[in-house]
Structure formats: C-alpha cells, structure tokens
C-alpha cells in the first residue's frame, strides 16, 4: 500500500511539475531573450504538432489496482476513444481485473485455530464511458529531441462485475465463497499521453473509482473506493 501511495505522490508531483513547465497562454507567458532589444518582449506562438480532433484512438493498457486489501489485483484494459475536438473526447473502456488472494487473506484462511473469513469484495470487470477534458498540450524540450504530450482529466460512469461474500460471511460451516453481482459506479481519471512516431502514443494514468456495492453484512450498499495505476500504449487514427 505504501508503495502505491508513493507512486501516487510521484504521479501527482509529476503533473504538478509539468504544469509549471507548460501552461495555456497567459500574459505572464512572456519570453525575455538576450538578443532582443532592451525592454522588448515576445510571446512564443506555435501551432500544434499533433492534432487529434475528429480522430479515433485505441488504447491497450496494463493495470495495477488495489480494490481490496485481501486481493492482489492487476489486469488489462481496452479503450476506444473519439476526439470531439482538441480538448474533448469520449471513450468506451473495458477493464478486466485478475485477482488472486493476497498474503493477508492466505494467513487468515490458514489460521491455526480455524479459518478466519473477512468480509470482502473484489472487482472483476468494468465497462465504462468517459468524457475527457484535455486542456493541456505541452512539450518537453531536450537538447536534441522534443517530446509532445497531452494531459487531461476524465469522468466516467460504468457497470462493474463484482464478487462478494456478505451472504455467507457469518455462516461458520461455509468456507470463503464469493457470489457474483453487478454494480454501478463512477471513475475519475487523470492521464498523460506522450506522442511517439506516427500516431503512436505512450501514457500513464491514475484512476480513482467508486463502486456502489454491498460492503456490509446487512446488504446495504455503500461506495467502495479504489485506485488504479495504468500504463498505456495507443494509436490515434
């Protein structure tokens, strides 16, 4: 968990760093060159190197997730996006999670005085639709290469296939048994996409997901929050 928090901090601080490097135009965006006449200032105005409005993008991603402390979760996702404009896009995302019992759960299940069952819920798949706002197009200049990137935020809604044991949790005669259910929830994403050769893109993103699901023995629904860290390779047509 600590590792994930560290990673999250790293991503947030990276975004913050990027934002100070490249931002939308403002009157503060004035350049002062030594070779300009004294007191003269210039704006640096460039056209976009990579345009995506009207384009279709596909993304294939690997996921590292933390939906439950009792599960080690990773997975993959496939996304199809349509760029309505340079700043807005809509996408359909399918996520598939691969869950296995965590060391904590194994310890509990193998407790010497008898199996200890935690009340748990895992996420198996998610089908989402996102609306994305991509306000920042930036570049990182190195001495012999320029890297262009987009940074954006997305908010989505979707259906989640989950599995939980609230029905059999207090039944001492039944070992840990998860029952499949379907829930709904939201997903918030923050992503960076670097442009590569042709239409190839490479990116990473952070997802915060909230699923309205049964988390207690009573059967009442509440929101399960979890984070995904995602690495993506994509192509924009």
């Amino acid at each position: 968990m600590k590792k994930r928090i560290l990673l999250l901090n790293l991503i947030v601080s990276t975004f913050a760093g990027l934002l100070t490097v490249n931002t939308y135009a403002s009157d503060k965006s004035l350049y002062e060159f030594k070779w300009l006449d004294e007191g003269e200032k210039v704006y640096v105005i460039q056209n976009k190197e990579y345009l995506k409005a009207g384009g279709i993008g596909i993304d294939i991603s690997l996921i590292d997730s933390n939906s439950s402390p009792y599960q080690d979760t990773n997975g993959y996702s496939l996304a199809l996006a349509y760029y309505l404009s340079e700043n807005w896009s809509v996408d359909f995302t399918y996520k598939s999670y691969n869950n296995s019992n965590s060391a904590d759960l194994s310890n509990l299940l193998n407790y010497p005085k008898g199996e200890v069952k935690p009340l748990m819920r895992r996420i198996d798949t998610a089908k989402l639709i996102h609306f994305n706002w991509i306000p920042f197009y930036g570049k990182i200049n190195t001495f012999n290469k320029i890297f262009f990137f987009d940074w954006g935020l997305g908010l989505g809604y979707g259906i989640f296939d989950t599995a939980g044991n609230y029905k059999t949790f207090d039944d001492e005669n039944v070992s840990l048994t998860l029952a499949e259910e379907q829930d709904s929830g939201f997903n918030f994403r923050s992503f960076v996409k670097f442009y590569g050769i042709g239409g190839l893109t490479f990116g990473f993103e952070y997802n915060l997901t909230g699923v309205q699901t049964i988390m207690s023995q009573s059967g009442a629904k509440e929101t399960l929050y979890y984070n995904d860290i995602i690495g993506t390779i994509g192509y924009i047509f």
Partner: protein
C-alpha cells in the same frame, strides 16, 4: 576498373562503333560507373538510333550536372526529334530561353525519375507565360513527387528536400502575389525548421503577416533573424521591414536606430558585393575559416547561407565525379581516343565551375542591388521620421525620440491559427525560432 580494360575500350572504340555500336560501349563504360563518359556514348547511340535501357538513361540524366547539358551544343541535333535524352535537350533549351521547345520536351516526358525537376522547370516556364493556374499546378506536383521520390546516395534526402522547398517557395510567392496571405503562410509551413532554406522564408512570412495586419507576428518573424543561429541570414529587407513596422507603431527611436544599424553593418560594405571577383567568391564559399578582413567577413557570412544550396552541393558532387573519371582516363591518355574523352571531361568540369561562379556572382550582385534598394527605402523612411521630428520641434518638444515600450496583452493578438503559447522561461529553443509575436502596443492608437 583496371587500366587494361580502359585501354581495350579506347583501342576498340572506333572498331566497335562500326561493328557492335555505341550502345555496347555505353554499357561497358556505364557498368564501370564512368557516368560522364557514358553520357558521351549515350548521345552517340541516340544519334544512331540504337536503344539503351530506359533505367540507365534515367540514371545518367539524373547524375550528369545540368551545366553539362546547358553547354553541350551537340544536343541541338535532337531538338526536333523525340529521343531518350529529351530531358537534357529540354534543360539546354530552357537555359537558351527557348521555352517553347523546353516545354514541349518536358511535357512529353511521362515515365521519368526526374518528375520533381521536370515540374519545377515547367512551373518556371509557365511563370514566364504568366499562366498562374498551370504554375501552381506544376509546383504542387513538384512537391508531391518530391515526397514520393526515393533517396539514393547520388540524390540524397537533402537534394530532394531542397528541390521540394524551392517549389514550396515558388508556390507561396504565387499566393502572395494573389494577395492570399493566409494561404501563403499555410504553404510556407510545409518547410521544416531544420531545413537550411527555412530562414530565407522568414521574410516571406513576415510580409504575409504584415499584409494581414498582424504586425506583432510580422515583427516576431523578422526579429528572429537577430537570433545567434540565424544572424547570417539577416537580409537588408528584413531590417527595413522592422524599421517600417516600428515607424508605423510610432516607435520612432527604434526606426531611427535600425536605419543607423543598417548604415553601419550593411551599407558600408555594399561595394564589396559589387566588385568582388568570381574566383574570390568561390574561395569564400569553399573556405571553412572565417576571413580576417571585415569586408570579406561580410560576404563570407552571406555566402555561408548558400552552403547547403542545391547548386553548391551538386557542384561539389559533379566535381567529385568528374575528377574521379578524369583520374581513371588519365592512365590511358596516351591513346588518342582517350585524349578526346579527357578533353571533353575537362570541358564539362570547366563549364560546371564557370556556371557555379556565375551563380555566385549573381548572388553577390543581387545582394548589392538589394542593399541599394533598401537604402532608398530607408532614406524615405528616415525622411518620414524627420517629419515627425519637425512636428515635435513645432510643438516645442525635444527632437530626440525616446521610445517607451508598451506591452501588448496576449488577448489582443488575433488568433488566425491554432496557436498555443509556451512558457519556457530562461531557455532558448531552436524549434521556437520564427514563432514569435513581439508584444508591442501600437502607440499611434491612443
């Protein structure tokens, strides 16, 4: 190729010419990469109606320097015939101002590797006819074929791209002449900034912005010439445009200073551009060392801007080929037939050198004329500044201008394209050159 093979070729040339024909001789010489010698056999075999593989003819047409065609009176024999060397004939006719024949020959060339060059020259011919629709079509085709053309070690990427950019420039100038300034800017965007010719287009961009009324961006384009990387491309016209814009924005001190700067850095050396010899020009462009004398430095840096010009590297390449062929033939020069070939090769070499020297002389003469014209324009500008001084005098104010710069807010710069503004403070990035807008408020509008 060894000496004996060469001896064999030249001993048996007259005999072979009668028995097997020049086409076979061509093939032997061609196989040994003696392209200029192959050209001699090619003409003879075409004259006799012997056929040679199209691919080989194309390669010779591609490799042999155009100056060879221009100075080859033997090509006149083929003016009224349709032959495999129509490209060479067309080039000669073009330079002899026989545009009608050149056009006819070039249009006839259908499947040729020389489509880039063909369309460029046809574009120039239509330009002389003022047929602008055809001009634009030809230059567009030139750009299109340049993107499809394969690069070889003989015609590398730099050659093809330079040719393409010449077509882009011509196309942009047509749109400019038609006052379609937005389209001009769009066309000029096809030239990448890492291309050597790109700095020369800054002035075209600047004028386009100027006529679009975007003086901030126009000024931004010409100011780019002050960047350390591009100093050598600064032309008098760019300085004049700077002065003009500052005057129109009521920054008279700046306009005055630019005139003074022009006098000090350019006008003072104008005579060097006019009187310099052709040999000196050639030495200057080939030299890798900066000359010590200021007046030579003045031209050295101007010529440095032409070091990647297509004419310079095709001159160097042709000289290299010819030197290598002459060296090979010199081994058998005791043979009379070889001596004739050698004389022809020396003649070609001389023709190429003289043409290039003429080009350099034209460049320097043109530079001189530019300086003269800009001086006249500057004098008028200075006169207008003087009138402003007189107005101030009449108002009892000091005649010394002191410009107080007023920064223009970003929102007041019209967004004619999809623009983004970067905030890289304290850095200098080559990719941003030319993408500037000087944030100056027009002081005349109060």
């Amino acid at each position: 190729m060894n000496k004996y093979l060469l001896i064999a070729i030249f001993i048996i040339t007259p005999a072979l010419a009668n028995a097997k024909g020049y086409a076979d001789m061509f093939n032997i010489v061609y196989r040994n990469n003696l392209y200029y010698s192959s050209y001699i056999f090619l003409k003879k075999s075409v004259s006799r109606g012997e056929s040679i593989a199209q691919g080989k003819v194309e390669k010779i047409m591609d490799i042999v320097h155009p100056s060879v065609f221009i100075h080859d009176p033997e090509l006149d024999e083929f003016v009224s015939k349709k032959t495999a060397i129509d490209y060479a004939v067309a080039i000669r006719r073009f330079f002899l101002n026989d545009f009608k024949t050149a056009k006819k020959k070039l249009i006839r060339l259908k499947r040729t590797n020389m489509r880039v060059e063909k369309n460029y020259i046809l574009g120039l011919i239509y330009l002389t006819e003022k047929n602008y629709k055809h001009v634009a079509n030809r230059f567009k085709r030139c750009v299109r074929f340049a993107s499809k053309r394969r690069y070889t070690h003989l015609k590398p990427e730099s050659y093809v791209k330079t040719f393409k950019n010449r077509c882009v420039q011509q196309l942009a100038r047509i749109y400019f002449a038609n006052k379609d300034y937005k389209r001009t800017l769009k066309v000029l965007d096809y030239v990448r900034k890492d291309d050597y010719i790109w700095p020369r287009f800054l002035i075209d961009r600047a004028w386009s912005y100027y006529w679009l009324g975007e003086t901030e961006r126009s000024l931004g384009s010409v100011v780019t010439y002050k960047a350390p990387l591009l100093k050598r491309f600064m032309i008098p016209e760019a300085n004049y445009l700077r002065g003009l814009i500052y005057y129109e924005m009521c920054y008279f001190e700046k306009a005055e200073n630019i005139y003074k700067e022009f006098n000090e850095t350019t006008w003072k050396y104008r005579d060097v551009a006019r009187t310099i010899s052709k040999n000196r020009l050639l030495r200057l462009i080939i030299s890798k060392k900066e000359p010590k004398e200021q007046k030579n430095k003045f031209l050295y840096y101007y010529l440095k801007g032409f070091k990647k010009d297509i004419r310079f590297f095709s001159f160097k390449q042709a000289r290299g080929h010819l030197t290598a062929e002459i060296k090979k033939l010199s081994r058998v020069k005791s043979l009379r037939q070889a001596q004739i070939f050698l004389d022809l090769l020396y003649y070609y070499k001389k023709a190429i050198k003289e043409d290039f020297q003429d080009f350099l002389k034209n460049v320097s003469n043109d530079y001189y004329l530019q300086i003269r014209q800009m001086r006249s324009a500057f004098v008028k500008l200075n006169l207008m500044v003087s009138l402003k001084k007189r107005e101030r005098l009449a108002q009892g104010k000091s005649i010394v201008f002191k410009d107080e710069l007023e920064t223009k807010p970003l929102g007041d710069i019209p967004n004619i394209d999809d623009k983004f503004i970067w905030d890289f403070r304290g850095g200098f990035w080559a990719d941003e050159l030319g993408d500037y807008a000087v944030a100056l408020q027009n002081r005349c509008v109060k």
